[in-house]
Protein backbone atom coordinates (compact mmCIF):
# COMPACT_ATOMS: atom_id res chain seq x y z
CA UNK A 1 0.00 0.00 0.00
CA UNK A 2 1.30 3.44 -0.88
CA UNK A 3 2.38 5.78 1.90
CA UNK A 4 -0.02 8.59 2.80
CA UNK A 5 1.14 12.19 2.97
CA UNK A 6 -0.90 15.11 4.25
CA UNK A 7 -0.01 18.59 3.01
CA UNK A 8 -1.21 21.48 5.19
CA UNK A 9 -0.47 24.70 3.33
CA UNK A 10 -2.66 27.70 2.51
CA UNK A 11 -0.59 28.35 -0.62
CA UNK A 12 -2.63 26.37 -3.10
CA UNK A 13 -0.22 26.66 -6.04
CA UNK A 14 2.77 25.44 -4.08
CA UNK A 15 0.71 22.63 -2.57
CA UNK A 16 -0.60 21.65 -6.02
CA UNK A 17 2.88 21.30 -7.46
CA UNK A 18 4.19 19.40 -4.42
CA UNK A 19 1.14 17.15 -4.71
CA UNK A 20 1.78 16.67 -8.45
CA UNK A 21 5.40 15.69 -7.81
CA UNK A 22 4.64 13.34 -4.95
CA UNK A 23 1.76 11.61 -6.74
CA UNK A 24 4.19 10.80 -9.55
CA UNK A 25 6.32 9.07 -6.91
CA UNK A 26 3.34 6.90 -6.01
CA UNK A 27 2.31 8.50 -2.74
CA UNK A 28 -1.30 9.09 -1.74
CA UNK A 29 -1.66 12.80 -1.07
CA UNK A 30 -4.29 14.80 0.75
CA UNK A 31 -4.17 18.61 0.86
CA UNK A 32 -5.75 20.94 3.42
CA UNK A 33 -5.41 24.70 3.17
CA UNK A 34 -5.78 25.58 6.86
CA UNK A 35 -4.69 24.34 10.26
CA UNK A 36 -8.13 23.40 11.55
CA UNK A 37 -8.99 21.17 8.58
CA UNK A 38 -5.43 19.86 8.73
CA UNK A 39 -5.93 18.67 12.31
CA UNK A 40 -9.18 16.97 11.34
CA UNK A 41 -7.44 15.30 8.38
CA UNK A 42 -4.68 14.01 10.67
CA UNK A 43 -7.41 12.21 12.64
CA UNK A 44 -9.37 10.95 9.61
CA UNK A 45 -6.72 10.39 6.92
CA UNK A 46 -4.09 9.04 9.36
CA UNK A 47 -1.11 10.13 7.27
CA UNK A 48 2.32 8.54 7.46
CA UNK A 49 3.87 11.98 7.06
CA UNK A 50 2.68 15.58 7.36
CA UNK A 51 4.16 18.52 5.44
CA UNK A 52 3.16 21.55 7.43
CA UNK A 53 3.39 25.20 6.45
CA UNK A 54 4.21 27.57 9.31
CA UNK A 55 2.49 30.72 8.11
CA UNK A 56 -1.24 30.16 7.79
CA UNK A 57 -4.21 32.30 8.75
CA UNK A 58 -6.07 31.13 11.85
CA UNK A 59 -4.23 28.22 13.46
CA UNK A 60 -0.65 28.43 12.22
CA UNK A 61 1.81 25.60 11.71
CA UNK A 62 3.37 25.85 15.13
CA UNK A 63 -0.02 25.67 16.83
CA UNK A 64 -0.93 22.65 14.71
CA UNK A 65 2.29 20.90 15.81
CA UNK A 66 1.59 21.81 19.45
CA UNK A 67 -1.96 20.42 19.28
CA UNK A 68 -0.70 17.25 17.55
CA UNK A 69 1.78 16.77 20.40
CA UNK A 70 -0.63 17.68 23.23
CA UNK A 71 -3.47 15.51 21.96
CA UNK A 72 -1.12 12.77 20.79
CA UNK A 73 -2.74 12.73 17.34
CA UNK A 74 0.40 11.32 15.74
CA UNK A 75 4.13 11.13 16.29
CA UNK A 76 5.50 14.66 15.73
CA UNK A 77 8.69 13.12 14.34
CA UNK A 78 6.62 12.51 11.21
CA UNK A 79 6.16 16.22 10.51
CA UNK A 80 8.25 18.25 8.05
CA UNK A 81 7.78 21.99 8.43
CA UNK A 82 7.92 24.56 5.63
CA UNK A 83 8.40 28.18 6.58
CA UNK A 84 8.47 31.47 4.72
CA UNK A 85 10.98 33.06 7.06
CA UNK A 86 13.84 31.92 9.20
CA UNK A 87 12.97 32.63 12.80
CA UNK A 88 15.50 30.88 14.99
CA UNK A 89 13.28 30.86 18.07
CA UNK A 90 10.34 29.44 16.16
CA UNK A 91 12.47 26.74 14.58
CA UNK A 92 13.95 25.81 17.94
CA UNK A 93 10.46 25.57 19.45
CA UNK A 94 9.39 23.28 16.59
CA UNK A 95 12.37 20.98 17.06
CA UNK A 96 11.58 20.95 20.79
CA UNK A 97 8.17 19.61 19.81
CA UNK A 98 9.98 16.77 18.05
CA UNK A 99 9.42 17.55 14.37
CA UNK A 100 11.44 15.54 11.85
CA UNK A 101 12.76 18.31 9.62
CA UNK A 102 12.45 21.95 8.59
CA UNK A 103 12.76 23.59 5.20
CA UNK A 104 12.79 27.30 4.51
CA UNK A 105 10.87 28.84 1.60
CA UNK A 106 11.89 29.38 -1.15
CA UNK A 107 12.84 25.72 -1.25
CA UNK A 108 14.12 23.26 -3.80
CA UNK A 109 11.41 20.73 -4.57
CA UNK A 110 13.98 17.96 -5.18
CA UNK A 111 15.39 18.65 -1.74
CA UNK A 112 11.92 18.30 -0.22
CA UNK A 113 11.30 15.02 -2.04
CA UNK A 114 14.62 13.61 -0.76
CA UNK A 115 13.75 14.59 2.81
CA UNK A 116 10.29 13.06 2.49
CA UNK A 117 11.75 9.80 1.18
CA UNK A 118 14.32 9.75 3.96
CA UNK A 119 11.66 10.39 6.61
CA UNK A 120 9.38 7.68 5.22
CA UNK A 121 12.18 5.16 4.89
CA UNK A 122 12.72 5.38 8.65
CA UNK A 123 9.14 4.39 9.34
CA UNK A 124 8.34 0.90 10.57
Amino acid sequence: MSKKILLIDDDTNVASYVKFRLQKKGYTINHMDNGLDGLQAIKDFKPDLVILDMMMPGIDGREVAEIVKEENLMDTSRIIVLSGKEVTEEVKALFDLGIHDYLQKPFNIDNLVIRIERALSNLP
Binding site: V14, Y17, F107, I109, N111
Partner: protein, 373 residues
Amino acid sequence: MNTMSPYFDTVAIDFIRITLYVLLVLFFSLVIFILVRRVLLKRWAEKMNKSEENIMPNLFLYLDGEITKQKFSDSLKNRFEVIAAFRNITELIDNFDGDQKDKLRSLLNLPQFNRYYTNSIRTDNTLKLAQACMYFEKKNIAERTVINRLKELQYHEYPVIKYASTLALINTSEQEVRDNALNVFIHSKGLASMAINDIIYKYCGFHKDSDRAAEILFRYITDPNVPVSNAASMVKMLPELGFYQMADDLAEFFRFPYQHDDKGFLTSSLIDALSDFSGVNVIDLVPEEKTWNSKHIPVRLSTAKWIQKFYSQDLDPILLRLAVDDDLEVRIIAQLALTQSPDAKNIDQQLDVKYQNEWDEILKTGDSYVDSV
Protein backbone atom coordinates in the same frame (compact mmCIF):
# COMPACT_ATOMS: atom_id res chain seq x y z
CA MET B 1 -58.03 79.53 6.81
CA ASN B 2 -56.19 78.12 3.83
CA THR B 3 -54.32 80.91 2.00
CA MET B 4 -52.62 78.68 -0.65
CA SER B 5 -53.95 79.03 -4.19
CA PRO B 6 -54.87 75.93 -6.24
CA TYR B 7 -52.01 76.87 -8.61
CA PHE B 8 -49.39 76.43 -5.87
CA ASP B 9 -50.98 73.15 -4.76
CA THR B 10 -50.62 71.78 -8.30
CA VAL B 11 -46.99 72.94 -8.60
CA ALA B 12 -46.13 71.39 -5.22
CA ILE B 13 -47.74 68.09 -6.16
CA ASP B 14 -45.92 68.08 -9.54
CA PHE B 15 -42.64 68.84 -7.80
CA ILE B 16 -43.06 65.96 -5.35
CA ARG B 17 -44.07 63.63 -8.19
CA ILE B 18 -41.04 64.57 -10.32
CA THR B 19 -38.70 64.20 -7.31
CA LEU B 20 -40.13 60.75 -6.61
CA TYR B 21 -39.66 59.73 -10.26
CA VAL B 22 -36.06 60.95 -10.24
CA LEU B 23 -35.35 59.09 -7.00
CA LEU B 24 -36.96 55.92 -8.38
CA VAL B 25 -34.94 56.14 -11.59
CA LEU B 26 -31.74 56.68 -9.60
CA PHE B 27 -32.56 53.78 -7.29
CA PHE B 28 -33.26 51.36 -10.14
CA SER B 29 -30.18 52.56 -12.05
CA LEU B 30 -28.09 51.84 -8.98
CA VAL B 31 -29.64 48.39 -8.53
CA ILE B 32 -29.05 47.58 -12.23
CA PHE B 33 -25.46 48.85 -12.01
CA ILE B 34 -24.74 46.68 -8.95
CA LEU B 35 -26.34 43.61 -10.56
CA VAL B 36 -24.46 44.06 -13.85
CA ARG B 37 -21.19 44.66 -12.01
CA ARG B 38 -21.71 41.56 -9.90
CA VAL B 39 -22.46 39.45 -12.99
CA LEU B 40 -19.39 40.82 -14.80
CA LEU B 41 -17.13 40.20 -11.80
CA LYS B 42 -18.50 36.69 -11.42
CA ARG B 43 -17.90 35.98 -15.10
CA TRP B 44 -14.40 37.40 -14.85
CA ALA B 45 -13.64 35.22 -11.81
CA GLU B 46 -15.05 32.15 -13.59
CA LYS B 47 -12.90 32.83 -16.65
CA MET B 48 -9.83 33.27 -14.48
CA ASN B 49 -10.54 30.02 -12.61
CA LYS B 50 -11.07 28.18 -15.88
CA SER B 51 -7.87 29.66 -17.29
CA GLU B 52 -5.96 28.53 -14.20
CA GLU B 53 -7.38 25.04 -14.56
CA ASN B 54 -6.21 25.01 -18.17
CA ILE B 55 -2.69 26.27 -17.63
CA MET B 56 -1.60 24.76 -14.31
CA PRO B 57 -1.25 21.13 -15.52
CA ASN B 58 0.87 22.37 -18.43
CA LEU B 59 2.95 24.53 -16.12
CA PHE B 60 3.67 21.54 -13.87
CA LEU B 61 4.50 19.35 -16.88
CA TYR B 62 6.89 22.04 -18.13
CA LEU B 63 8.56 22.27 -14.69
CA ASP B 64 9.07 18.51 -14.71
CA GLY B 65 10.55 18.62 -18.21
CA GLU B 66 7.69 16.69 -19.78
CA ILE B 67 6.77 19.47 -22.21
CA THR B 68 8.93 22.16 -23.78
CA LYS B 69 8.77 25.90 -23.16
CA GLN B 70 7.35 26.32 -26.68
CA LYS B 71 4.59 23.85 -25.94
CA PHE B 72 3.71 25.72 -22.76
CA SER B 73 3.78 28.98 -24.72
CA ASP B 74 1.39 27.52 -27.32
CA SER B 75 -1.03 26.59 -24.57
CA LEU B 76 -1.57 30.25 -23.62
CA LYS B 77 -4.57 31.03 -25.80
CA ASN B 78 -6.08 34.28 -24.48
CA ARG B 79 -5.42 37.22 -22.15
CA PHE B 80 -7.13 35.49 -19.21
CA GLU B 81 -4.66 32.64 -19.52
CA VAL B 82 -1.77 35.09 -19.83
CA ILE B 83 -2.85 36.92 -16.64
CA ALA B 84 -3.51 33.68 -14.74
CA ALA B 85 -0.21 32.18 -15.88
CA PHE B 86 1.76 35.24 -14.83
CA ARG B 87 0.06 35.37 -11.43
CA ASN B 88 0.82 31.71 -10.73
CA ILE B 89 4.34 31.80 -12.14
CA THR B 90 5.31 34.74 -9.90
CA GLU B 91 3.81 33.03 -6.88
CA LEU B 92 5.80 29.88 -7.58
CA ILE B 93 8.99 31.90 -8.23
CA ASP B 94 8.67 33.32 -4.72
CA ASN B 95 8.32 29.86 -3.20
CA PHE B 96 10.66 27.63 -5.17
CA ASP B 97 14.40 27.55 -5.56
CA GLY B 98 16.88 25.84 -7.86
CA ASP B 99 15.96 24.46 -11.30
CA GLN B 100 12.26 25.16 -10.91
CA LYS B 101 12.90 28.82 -10.13
CA ASP B 102 15.18 29.21 -13.17
CA LYS B 103 12.65 27.52 -15.43
CA LEU B 104 9.83 29.68 -14.10
CA ARG B 105 11.89 32.84 -14.57
CA SER B 106 12.68 31.94 -18.16
CA LEU B 107 8.93 31.80 -18.89
CA LEU B 108 8.67 35.53 -18.20
CA ASN B 109 10.41 36.19 -21.51
CA LEU B 110 7.62 34.54 -23.50
CA PRO B 111 6.30 36.91 -26.18
CA GLN B 112 2.72 36.58 -24.88
CA PHE B 113 3.69 38.12 -21.54
CA ASN B 114 5.91 40.76 -23.08
CA ARG B 115 3.23 41.83 -25.57
CA TYR B 116 0.41 41.90 -23.03
CA TYR B 117 2.28 43.83 -20.33
CA THR B 118 3.97 46.22 -22.76
CA ASN B 119 0.46 47.19 -23.88
CA SER B 120 -0.83 47.28 -20.29
CA ILE B 121 1.83 49.73 -19.17
CA ARG B 122 0.57 52.23 -21.76
CA THR B 123 -2.99 52.22 -20.38
CA ASP B 124 -4.54 54.34 -17.63
CA ASN B 125 -6.10 51.35 -15.89
CA THR B 126 -4.62 51.21 -12.37
CA LEU B 127 -4.92 47.44 -12.01
CA LYS B 128 -3.29 46.80 -15.39
CA LEU B 129 -0.54 49.29 -14.58
CA ALA B 130 0.20 47.60 -11.25
CA GLN B 131 0.34 44.18 -12.93
CA ALA B 132 2.58 45.49 -15.71
CA CYS B 133 4.98 47.07 -13.19
CA MET B 134 5.10 43.78 -11.35
CA TYR B 135 5.86 41.95 -14.59
CA PHE B 136 8.74 44.28 -15.46
CA GLU B 137 10.06 44.04 -11.91
CA LYS B 138 10.20 40.24 -12.11
CA LYS B 139 11.58 40.26 -15.63
CA ASN B 140 14.38 42.79 -14.98
CA ILE B 141 13.57 45.20 -17.80
CA ALA B 142 16.16 46.61 -20.15
CA GLU B 143 14.07 48.36 -22.84
CA ARG B 144 14.54 52.12 -22.73
CA THR B 145 10.92 52.89 -23.65
CA VAL B 146 9.66 50.81 -20.74
CA ILE B 147 12.11 52.47 -18.36
CA ASN B 148 10.90 55.89 -19.48
CA ARG B 149 7.28 54.90 -18.95
CA LEU B 150 8.10 53.55 -15.48
CA LYS B 151 9.78 56.87 -14.67
CA GLU B 152 6.56 58.67 -15.61
CA LEU B 153 4.55 56.31 -13.42
CA GLN B 154 6.61 57.29 -10.39
CA TYR B 155 4.53 60.50 -10.42
CA HIS B 156 1.19 58.62 -10.64
CA GLU B 157 -1.59 59.81 -8.34
CA TYR B 158 -1.86 56.40 -6.62
CA PRO B 159 0.92 55.47 -4.17
CA VAL B 160 0.62 51.80 -5.18
CA ILE B 161 1.66 52.66 -8.75
CA LYS B 162 4.48 54.88 -7.48
CA TYR B 163 5.67 51.94 -5.41
CA ALA B 164 5.27 49.30 -8.15
CA SER B 165 7.02 51.39 -10.81
CA THR B 166 9.87 52.23 -8.43
CA LEU B 167 10.29 48.57 -7.55
CA ALA B 168 10.59 47.72 -11.24
CA LEU B 169 13.17 50.47 -11.76
CA ILE B 170 15.17 49.42 -8.68
CA ASN B 171 15.40 45.95 -10.23
CA THR B 172 17.16 47.22 -13.36
CA SER B 173 20.87 46.63 -13.82
CA GLU B 174 21.81 50.32 -14.20
CA GLN B 175 22.85 51.96 -10.93
CA GLU B 176 22.01 55.43 -12.27
CA VAL B 177 18.42 54.38 -13.00
CA ARG B 178 18.14 52.90 -9.50
CA ASP B 179 19.55 56.04 -7.87
CA ASN B 180 17.14 58.30 -9.75
CA ALA B 181 14.21 56.01 -8.99
CA LEU B 182 14.99 56.10 -5.26
CA ASN B 183 15.40 59.89 -5.35
CA VAL B 184 11.95 60.43 -6.93
CA PHE B 185 10.26 57.84 -4.71
CA ILE B 186 11.66 59.08 -1.42
CA HIS B 187 10.53 62.64 -2.15
CA SER B 188 6.95 61.46 -2.81
CA LYS B 189 4.15 62.05 -0.33
CA GLY B 190 1.58 59.59 0.99
CA LEU B 191 3.79 56.49 0.96
CA ALA B 192 3.17 53.59 3.33
CA SER B 193 6.12 52.74 5.58
CA MET B 194 6.06 49.12 4.35
CA ALA B 195 6.49 50.34 0.77
CA ILE B 196 9.46 52.48 1.82
CA ASN B 197 11.01 49.59 3.74
CA ASP B 198 10.64 47.31 0.74
CA ILE B 199 12.18 49.78 -1.69
CA ILE B 200 15.07 50.68 0.64
CA TYR B 201 15.76 47.04 1.38
CA LYS B 202 15.90 46.16 -2.31
CA TYR B 203 17.92 49.27 -3.24
CA CYS B 204 20.56 48.57 -0.59
CA GLY B 205 20.59 44.86 -1.42
CA PHE B 206 21.40 45.60 -5.07
CA HIS B 207 23.98 48.32 -4.35
CA LYS B 208 27.55 47.12 -4.87
CA ASP B 209 28.96 49.48 -2.23
CA SER B 210 27.09 49.21 1.06
CA ASP B 211 28.91 52.22 2.61
CA ARG B 212 27.81 54.34 -0.33
CA ALA B 213 24.23 53.06 0.04
CA ALA B 214 24.29 54.02 3.75
CA GLU B 215 25.55 57.52 2.87
CA ILE B 216 22.77 57.98 0.31
CA LEU B 217 20.14 56.96 2.85
CA PHE B 218 21.55 59.32 5.44
CA ARG B 219 21.53 62.18 2.92
CA TYR B 220 17.80 61.61 2.35
CA ILE B 221 17.09 61.29 6.08
CA THR B 222 18.57 64.76 6.68
CA ASP B 223 17.03 66.30 3.55
CA PRO B 224 14.30 68.75 4.64
CA ASN B 225 12.52 68.22 1.30
CA VAL B 226 11.93 64.55 2.08
CA PRO B 227 8.54 64.07 3.82
CA VAL B 228 9.15 63.49 7.51
CA SER B 229 7.23 60.18 7.54
CA ASN B 230 9.54 58.85 4.79
CA ALA B 231 12.63 60.00 6.71
CA ALA B 232 11.32 58.36 9.89
CA SER B 233 10.76 55.05 8.03
CA MET B 234 14.28 55.21 6.60
CA VAL B 235 15.80 55.81 10.03
CA LYS B 236 14.11 52.67 11.32
CA MET B 237 15.66 50.70 8.48
CA LEU B 238 19.28 51.58 9.36
CA PRO B 239 19.74 49.04 12.20
CA GLU B 240 17.81 46.43 10.20
CA LEU B 241 20.23 46.91 7.30
CA GLY B 242 23.17 46.64 9.70
CA PHE B 243 24.43 50.17 8.95
CA TYR B 244 26.02 50.53 12.37
CA GLN B 245 28.67 52.82 10.90
CA MET B 246 25.96 55.50 10.81
CA ALA B 247 25.56 55.60 14.63
CA ASP B 248 27.67 58.76 15.13
CA ASP B 249 26.08 60.62 12.22
CA LEU B 250 22.67 59.66 13.46
CA ALA B 251 23.46 60.83 17.00
CA GLU B 252 24.75 64.12 15.59
CA PHE B 253 21.58 64.56 13.54
CA PHE B 254 19.52 63.81 16.67
CA ARG B 255 21.19 66.67 18.51
CA PHE B 256 20.27 69.30 15.95
CA PRO B 257 16.78 70.71 15.53
CA TYR B 258 14.64 69.50 12.66
CA GLN B 259 11.81 71.96 12.26
CA HIS B 260 9.78 69.77 9.94
CA ASP B 261 9.31 67.04 12.57
CA ASP B 262 6.03 68.55 13.76
CA LYS B 263 4.53 65.30 15.15
CA GLY B 264 7.65 63.80 16.66
CA PHE B 265 7.79 60.75 14.36
CA LEU B 266 11.35 61.42 13.19
CA THR B 267 12.64 62.05 16.72
CA SER B 268 10.89 58.92 17.94
CA SER B 269 12.43 56.84 15.11
CA LEU B 270 15.85 58.28 15.86
CA ILE B 271 15.56 57.26 19.52
CA ASP B 272 14.46 53.76 18.45
CA ALA B 273 17.34 53.45 15.98
CA LEU B 274 19.90 54.80 18.46
CA SER B 275 18.56 52.30 20.96
CA ASP B 276 19.46 49.54 18.49
CA PHE B 277 22.88 51.17 17.94
CA SER B 278 23.52 50.58 21.65
CA GLY B 279 25.88 52.89 23.50
CA VAL B 280 24.37 56.21 22.41
CA ASN B 281 22.82 57.93 25.42
CA VAL B 282 19.77 59.74 24.06
CA ILE B 283 18.84 61.25 27.42
CA ASP B 284 22.07 63.21 27.88
CA LEU B 285 22.37 64.11 24.22
CA VAL B 286 19.52 66.60 23.92
CA PRO B 287 17.32 68.81 26.15
CA GLU B 288 14.48 67.07 27.99
CA GLU B 289 11.88 68.63 25.62
CA LYS B 290 13.21 66.39 22.90
CA THR B 291 12.93 63.16 24.87
CA TRP B 292 11.02 62.43 28.07
CA ASN B 293 9.40 65.87 28.34
CA SER B 294 8.38 66.08 24.68
CA LYS B 295 4.84 67.18 23.78
CA HIS B 296 4.67 64.25 21.34
CA ILE B 297 3.50 60.85 22.60
CA PRO B 298 5.68 58.79 20.17
CA VAL B 299 8.78 60.59 21.49
CA ARG B 300 7.90 59.98 25.15
CA LEU B 301 7.08 56.36 24.34
CA SER B 302 10.39 55.80 22.55
CA THR B 303 12.21 57.45 25.45
CA ALA B 304 10.47 55.17 27.95
CA LYS B 305 11.44 52.16 25.82
CA TRP B 306 15.04 53.41 25.61
CA ILE B 307 15.24 53.75 29.41
CA GLN B 308 13.64 50.33 29.85
CA LYS B 309 16.40 48.87 27.67
CA PHE B 310 19.31 50.83 29.17
CA TYR B 311 18.01 51.18 32.72
CA SER B 312 20.06 52.85 35.42
CA GLN B 313 18.84 54.03 38.79
CA ASP B 314 19.79 57.63 37.96
CA LEU B 315 16.90 57.63 35.51
CA ASP B 316 14.25 56.80 38.14
CA PRO B 317 13.10 60.44 38.46
CA ILE B 318 12.42 60.55 34.71
CA LEU B 319 10.66 57.20 34.85
CA LEU B 320 8.50 58.43 37.74
CA ARG B 321 7.36 61.31 35.53
CA LEU B 322 6.65 58.99 32.60
CA ALA B 323 4.92 56.49 34.92
CA VAL B 324 2.09 59.02 35.40
CA ASP B 325 1.97 60.08 31.73
CA ASP B 326 -1.41 60.85 30.13
CA ASP B 327 -0.78 58.12 27.58
CA LEU B 328 -1.44 54.57 28.79
CA GLU B 329 1.31 52.94 26.72
CA VAL B 330 3.95 55.40 27.91
CA ARG B 331 2.84 54.83 31.53
CA ILE B 332 2.97 51.05 31.23
CA ILE B 333 6.42 50.98 29.63
CA ALA B 334 7.77 53.42 32.22
CA GLN B 335 6.27 51.39 35.08
CA LEU B 336 7.72 48.21 33.60
CA ALA B 337 11.12 49.93 33.50
CA LEU B 338 10.67 50.96 37.12
CA THR B 339 10.35 47.32 38.17
CA GLN B 340 14.12 47.17 37.56
CA SER B 341 14.69 49.79 40.27
CA PRO B 342 16.26 48.58 43.53
CA ASP B 343 13.66 50.84 45.15
CA ALA B 344 10.73 49.21 43.30
CA LYS B 345 8.89 48.23 46.51
CA ASN B 346 8.57 51.86 47.56
CA ILE B 347 7.63 53.28 44.17
CA ASP B 348 3.90 53.23 44.95
CA GLN B 349 4.40 55.93 47.58
CA GLN B 350 5.72 58.22 44.86
CA LEU B 351 2.89 57.59 42.39
CA ASP B 352 -0.44 59.36 42.30
CA VAL B 353 -3.22 57.25 43.89
CA LYS B 354 -5.06 56.83 40.57
CA TYR B 355 -2.07 55.02 39.03
CA GLN B 356 -1.36 52.70 41.94
CA ASN B 357 -3.65 49.93 40.66
CA GLU B 358 -1.71 49.87 37.38
CA TRP B 359 1.56 49.72 39.28
CA ASP B 360 0.30 46.85 41.51
CA GLU B 361 -0.71 44.90 38.38
CA ILE B 362 2.67 45.55 36.76
CA LEU B 363 4.46 44.33 39.87
CA LYS B 364 2.31 41.21 40.05
CA THR B 365 2.16 40.18 36.39
CA GLY B 366 4.86 42.16 34.55
CA ASP B 367 4.86 41.68 30.78
CA SER B 368 1.65 39.65 30.72
CA TYR B 369 -0.20 42.73 32.05
CA VAL B 370 1.16 44.74 29.14
CA ASP B 371 -0.08 42.08 26.71
CA SER B 372 -3.55 42.15 28.27
CA VAL B 373 -3.67 45.96 28.05
